[in-house]
């Protein structure tokens, strides 16, 4: 096992590293891979955008007035 990892392993580490600490050796291998592999560095940029998209895009909040009306409806039922 040298310092080389392949793209499949590297992209997995990219996604994991966004969320949690990865080991020091893994970090080193990933840095090296990203340094020499343009496709995977592009993947990292896009993966970061996707994080942001999930956070914002999944989070399309229902209309506030609608929610307040629903709350009142539910509470009335419980009386």
């Amino acid at each position: 096992m040298g310092l080389m990892i392949n793209c499949k392993e590297a992209t997995f580490l990219v996604d994991k590293e966004f969320e949690t600490k990865i080991g020091l050796i893994a970090q080193l291998k990933l840095r090296y891979h990203l340094y020499i592999c343009k496709v995977c560095s592009t993947y990292k940029i896009k993966s970061n955008i996707i994080n942001h998209l999930f956070k914002e895009g999944l989070n399309q909040k229902p209309d506030a007035v609608f929610v307040e009306e629903l709350k009142e409806k539910i509470k009335l039922k419980m009386m």
């Binding site: 793209c7 994991k16 496709v39 996707i50 999944l58």
Partner: protein, 185 residues
């Protein structure tokens, strides 16, 4: 004993919005979602004694809501990818030695910062997320909307730690590819 209607109505204030968001996301039908959220609180009120006070109200409520949604699902067939299909698709992005397959094209995503201001992009984004396997989407939603940590999600969805990281990773691989297909140039 604390007044149960008082407690449940606090929950109504705190969690209606998130539960509704989840139900709309799963069902893609606002009216139906609204009905099921109402039913959820009705059940919570009736079965309040079964609520264990050391557990989180939101988790308990989501459990009730999911039961309602699943019953609904069985009656309305909906196409999403199976996990096996999704795994095969992501495996096929790489060749045997683990390098990107030749077919994987990486385009440029225009206006990256304002993607979500663009209605056309939101449509693509929603179409892409809705194709992910059901329990992958569920994990993503738990993570990004309910802001649960990985341990909690693993426990609830019965996933190992390794499976969880694979799931997140594969979801993102598929999202990238899907967005690339409809948005990249």
């Amino acid at each position: 004993m604390e007044d149960k209607s008082k407690i449940v109505s606090t929950w109504v204030d705190l969690y209606t919005s998130k539960l509704l968001q989840w139900a709309i996301y799963k069902l893609k039908d606002r009216d139906l979602a609204q009905d099921l959220v109402q039913d959820t609180f009705a059940v919570a009120f009736e079965t309040f004694d079964q609520f264990k006070h050391n557990s989180k109200p939101l988790t308990w409520l989501v459990g009730i809501l999911n039961n309602k949604i699943n019953t609904q699902y069985r009656t309305s067939a909906k196409f999403t990818m199976s996990e096996l299909q999704a795994e095969k698709l992501t495996n096929d992005m790489f060749v045997e030695d683990g390098h990107w397959s030749q077919q994987e094209k990486f385009g440029v995503w225009q206006e990256e910062k304002h993607l979500l201001d663009n209605p056309a992009f939101i449509k693509i984004f929603e179409a892409c997320t809705s194709k992910l396997p059901d329990n992958w989407r569920e994990a993503l939603f738990q993570k990004y909307i309910f802001e649960k940590d990985s341990n909690e999600i693993c426990r609830e969805l019965n996933l190992s730690d390794a499976n969880y990281w694979q799931l997140i990773h594969r979801s993102k691989l598929l999202m990238r590819k899907c967005i690339e297909k409809f948005w990249g140039n």
